[in-house]
Symmetry: C2
Subunit: 423 residues, 2 copies
């Protein structure tokens, strides 16, 4: 695929964006319902393409974990159900807000519109193809998708269903297009199509986000990397705190909102930390602890199995696995300082009974999601009431934290007058 044909895809998308922007809610829902139906009907065909990808992956000796990530076996009806869930959400497009009549009589408002053309770059999971297409269509946007090289066949099969569904609702098939090769140079070219793409959404690891940030001339939503902290204040309800920590670390350790580092107030460290270790060992967690915690365990009679000394770089590591850093801090200020130095600005929390400590924490930590007495695992569009999620942003502009339908929109200023002139 040449850069010229990539440009052509951009122009087609931009053209399709005009039709998508004026599509009615029911027309967009019609396309989504058709897509859900087709997913159910074409299950066999999708799984055939998916099997092809899995065989190639096996010949290429990819890990079983990776092959599992790209497998759609047993997952298609859930995908269709997700699309139907998007149908049930309300359409944000066309909403008017901040309406005002100015002193000179001009009527001003903002009207919510699609962003236009999204460039979505993702890795192995082919379910992203459907998730992103559904949210894109619902919000009247267009998308150029670039999935992982391991799922080319599966993605092609899914794309043809998406385009059929668009067509059946009289919407332009070019609303959702896919870069048909997995060449990294093509990604670079995609990242420079600022004349036709309005926003890049990478879905993948830190390396992908960095690659996009460094090569894109289009705004990029970076996020999805979470070094998450909980600080246990001296006043916390320790018994219940244990369960929050257990949940935040073990409920799904491989995701970005899982706990990475536990900070414990020094005055409760000696009694509380051994309880943490005991509880979390039931979930097979291993620990990287600071010097003070290490000393606390030396000669305490506690087993040191699964406990090791943390190195400085460990505080800057997103574990994505059953490892937890533990550090003792003198007070709330030291906890705040540690989080400022090491957080990726994703999800951080405090466990405390002191409202003023909670307030200081909320005021002085600058992360996308801040928790008081709750697990960090709630940073998720569905959990926080958005109904759907396209990404979790940890940058500061446009949207922060979970991004749902509204975060895939922008607005126009509409100014209506009576032949008004500026004096």
């Amino acid at each position: 695929m040449t850069t010229a044909s990539l440009k052509q895809m951009g122009l087609w998308a931009k053209q399709a964006a005009f039709a998508m922007a004026k599509a009615s809610a029911s027309q967009k829902n019609e396309a989504l319902s058709a897509l859900a139906d087709q997913l159910n009907q074409a299950e066999e065909k999708i799984l055939e393409a998916n099997e092809h990808d899995k065989q190639l992956a096996r010949s290429a000796k990819l890990s079983e974990a990776l092959i599992d990530r790209l497998s759609l076996t047993g997952r298609i009806s859930a995908l269709a159900a997700d699309v139907r869930q998007v149908v049930s959400l309300s359409d944000p497009i066309g909403e008017e807000f901040e309406r005002a009549t100015l002193d000179n009589g001009l009527h001003v408002c903002k009207r919510r519109t699609p962003i236009g053309v999204l460039g979505v770059i993702y890795e192995s999971r082919p379910n992203v193809t459907i998730d992103v297409a559904a949210l894109t269509i619902k919000t009247g946007n267009c998308a150029i998708l670039r999935g992982g090289s391991e799922t080319l066949q599966t993605n092609q099969a899914l794309l043809s269903l998406i385009q059929n569904a668009l067509q059946s609702a009289d919407l332009p098939i070019n609303a959702i297009q896919m870069v048909p090769t997995a060449d990294r140079e093509q990604v670079k070219s995609l990242l420079k199509l600022h004349e036709s793409i309005d926003l890049i959404i990478p879905r993948g690891g830190a390396q992908l986000h960095q690659f996009c940030r460094e090569n894109s001339t289009i705004p990029v939503i970076t996020g999805g990397i979470g070094i998450c902290h909980l600080f246990v204040d001296e006043s916390a309800d320790q018994q219940r705190a244990l369960e929050v920590i257990y949940n935040a670390k073990t409920q799904r350790p491989s995701v970005c909102n899982a706990l990475d580092t536990l900070l414990v107030h020094t005055s409760i460290a000696e009694t509380f930390i051994p309880k943490v270790v005991e509880r979390l060992q039931q979930g097979f967690v291993k620990f990287r602890v600071d010097q003070k915690t290490w000393q606390l365990f030396q000669g305490s009679g506690h087993t040191l199995d699964g406990i090791s000394r943390a190195e400085e770089k460990d505080w800057d590591t997103e574990w994505l696995s059953l490892i937890l850093g533990i550090r003792i801090v003198e007070n709330l200020d030291e906890a705040i300082q540690h989080i400022r130095n090491h957080s990726t600005g994703h999800s951080d929390g405090i466990l405390t009974q002191h409202q003023d400590h909670a307030e200081q924490f909320l005021q002085e930590i600058d992360s996308a999601a801040l928790y008081v007495n709750a697990s960090t695992r709630f940073t998720d569009g569905a959990q926080l009431g958005l109904g759907a999620e396209v990404a979790v942003s940890t940058q500061k502009i446009h949207a922060r934290g979970p991004m749902g339908l509204k975060e895939l929109t922008t607005y126009k200023w509409i100014i209506q007058g009576n032949y008004h002139i500026r004096s």
Copy 2:
């Protein structure tokens, strides 16, 4: 100045951002009032530095127009008044919105916070230094400024007033810093400080915006380039339309929201276009017209003085001067198509008595500001009720159109529970 010291400035700014984020509205206003006072008191000293810059500019044989742009003579009390105006605006920081209690009892809201550290890159006008500093302080942000090379002395003098004012209100002086050289390589380094700068705001011409977009690893607000259109529908009140066109073209032709191209419905072209030419010639406007308009004038007895044939590239030119493109279109659809092809998405309008034509125009044109029966000159933060303006965005994410105080903020998600865990 080395890249290492630029990095150091970034770290200082990031540090200062924590103090700025928790400063109270009255503390920030105290700094702004002190700044306004100091501007009044230090007028002589500022003008001395400004005179130095102007002399250098004269020796470098810069144009008188440019030297006028960098001059502060007679402009300082207006600058101080602008700062006092910012004091009078309400502080958006800390506002909580989208508050909800979820089914599981979690209390969720978004709390408005500063973005953090802004990188503002601008050209000759030194008043931008004060304007940007005032809006930055008011919103609890920090900024690293990089002004034009022609105004180094003036900007240094202004910076020292700003930092004095910060200090007098017990705010960190590193909240507003300035890159002390005008080396373009330094701008490149600044654009890659994504570890400490959250947003780049370029204020200048198309070339500066392009340079930022191509070199930045930080989100950039692009905008400020306006190829603006008015379409005169067959139903428009022609007499009043003339005055709107006159205003949009001549009231301040050098700015981005001035009219560039007039599209006229074919059924009124023969009578209306000669009136437009006659009225706008009173404002010394010259015309670039399409083939049909040209034919209309041939042999009509009208003078052809100041009227020439448009070349294709003229429709893609932001005139910034007393030139107006005129084109006859068959109907609203052709007008919409022309605007889609040539607009920069800044400000476009329709003059019509048909509400359904207005609605189609509003629906089908995707620009930051859309007008019905009003001059495009209203696209301006002060005119549209924002009280102040840091930039006019023509990109789609974060903010679109005039950006005021609220557009210099982001939000945190605040989630408060009772030791909630995710099931």
